[in-house]
């Protein structure tokens, strides 16, 4: 049962295309597991569709359709010749990852602190995005921390709790710098999350401080 969802603003920004690629893929992971959010995004996308349908049109350049038709002809002739996209290396992280991550590179687990491991997720189209997998051992209490900017965390396995509630598989935690928390991972098993940081800000949150050297900051 999913209890924590992305905010309406985040789903809206997903729908209008203004959400950065890192948070975007974390939200996509959530949406793949959450029909309620998929419905909401479909609603906001329909807003885009209706705005597109109703907008005052502007003339295209002369010959635009001919140009597209010519590209279609070229494409039809050259079909099947496209080289397959280069696959990014994928380490085995011990769990089956959601399909939306299929084209992403997945780094091996690296130790970044007692009971905490980290794996770099590389997006095929944007290698500058700050996306990572995090694995925390059962029962581990993380130091109290705040976040630098927005952090989007989707729980893939296990659960953690803090003063705001319990976050289990399928939940997405959207935390900004107002959130100060001290998460505790459930005693009965490790917790694995996918997380993204918004922007190229100086990382000062708990995870941020731990991983800053890895991003060369």
């Amino acid at each position: 049962m999913i209890k924590h969802h992305p905010s309406d603003e985040t789903l809206f920004r997903y729908a209008n295309g203004s959400l950065e690629s890192g948070p975007r893929i974390v939200v996509a992971v959530h949406v793949g597991a959450c029909t309620a959010c998929a419905e909401r995004i479909a609603g906001f996308e329909a807003l885009g569709g209706s705005l597109l349908h109703d907008i005052e049109p502007e003339d295209m350049e002369a010959g635009a359709l001919d140009h597209v038709m010519a590209m279609i002809d070229t494409g039809e002739a050259g079909r099947g010749k496209a080289a397959p996209a280069q696959r990014l290396p994928r380490a085995d992280v011990g769990i089956r990852l959601p399909e939306v991550l299929d084209d992403c590179g997945i780094g091996p687990w690296r130790w970044i602190g007692p009971g905490v491991r980290w794996s770099r997720v590389t997006l095929p189209d944007d290698d500058s995005a700050n996306v990572m997998l995090l694995k925390v051992v059962a029962g581990r209490k993380l130091p109290e921390h705040t976040h630098a900017g927005y952090e989007y965390t989707h729980i893939l396995k296990g659960a953690f709790s803090d003063a705001r509630g319990r976050y289990g598989p399928g939940d997405l935690d959207e935390a900004d710098d107002d959130v100060q928390h001290q998460p505790i991972v459930d005693k009965d098993g490790e917790c694995i999350c996918i997380a993204a940081l918004e922007g190229q800000m100086k990382l000062s949150g708990f995870f941020g401080r731990l991983i800053q050297p890895l991003f060369g900051g």
Partner: protein
């Protein structure tokens, strides 16, 4: 052969769906030209409002319409109306372009959730998808004018929330809370569809 672009003043949802089906099933170029005639000038206006230069918008429109042709078989009227589907393709093409501009070395295609396999659609969902664009229109009419306006301005992303605040002469916090209210109300109206 030169194909004339008719600027179609209107295109009904069932007609657009029929044209898409003809493109998908028969690779029908006349149907495609009709879709181009309606959507290309609207996509151009839409992309310009999102902050693109006229020539960049022109490029992205052509790219989008090429993808409409290539991906026609993926269009599923049970999931989204034609306008919504074309909007999402243009959105992704725009993201792709902005990314290429900032990182010229990267040539991979943009991550595109519309390419992901979906769960089968129930009959009930199919009815909802057809109605969704109309319901959104009705919902916008039901919203207080200032909420609807801010929602539209935010959607295009033509201005930041701070710029909206300056333009209307209200504090940034008020813009943020209006957007939040408007989104909540819109969601409620859409949720009532279920």
């Amino acid at each position: 052969m030169a194909v004339t672009i008719r600027d179609e003043g209107s295109l009904s949802a069932p007609e657009a769906t029929r044209l898409m089906a003809a493109v998908a099933a028969n690779r029908d170029r006349v149907a495609f030209a009709a879709l181009f005639g309606f959507y290309a000038p609207r996509l151009k206006a839409f992309l310009k409002r999102s902050g693109m230069t006229p020539s960049a918008a022109e490029d992205v429109v052509q790219e989008t319409m090429l993808l409409v042709w290539k991906k026609a078989s993926y269009f599923d009227p049970a999931r989204a109306g034609v306008s919504t589907w074309i909007f999402t393709i243009a959105r992704n093409a725009r993201i792709d372009r902005l990314r290429r501009e900032s990182r010229p070395a990267v040539i991979a295609e943009a991550f595109d959730p519309s390419d992901q396999p979906d769960a089968p659609v129930s009959g009930e969902q199919a009815i909802i998808a057809v109605e969704r664009e109309d319901r959104v229109r009705e919902a916008l009419d039901l919203l207080p004018r200032e909420q609807a306006d801010i929602l539209k301005m935010s959607f295009f992303g033509e201005v930041t929330q701070s710029e909206i605040a300056d333009a209307i002469g209200i504090p940034l916090g008020t813009v943020k809370s209006r957007v939040r209210l408007a989104l909540g109300r819109l969601r409620q109206i859409l949720d009532d569809l279920k």
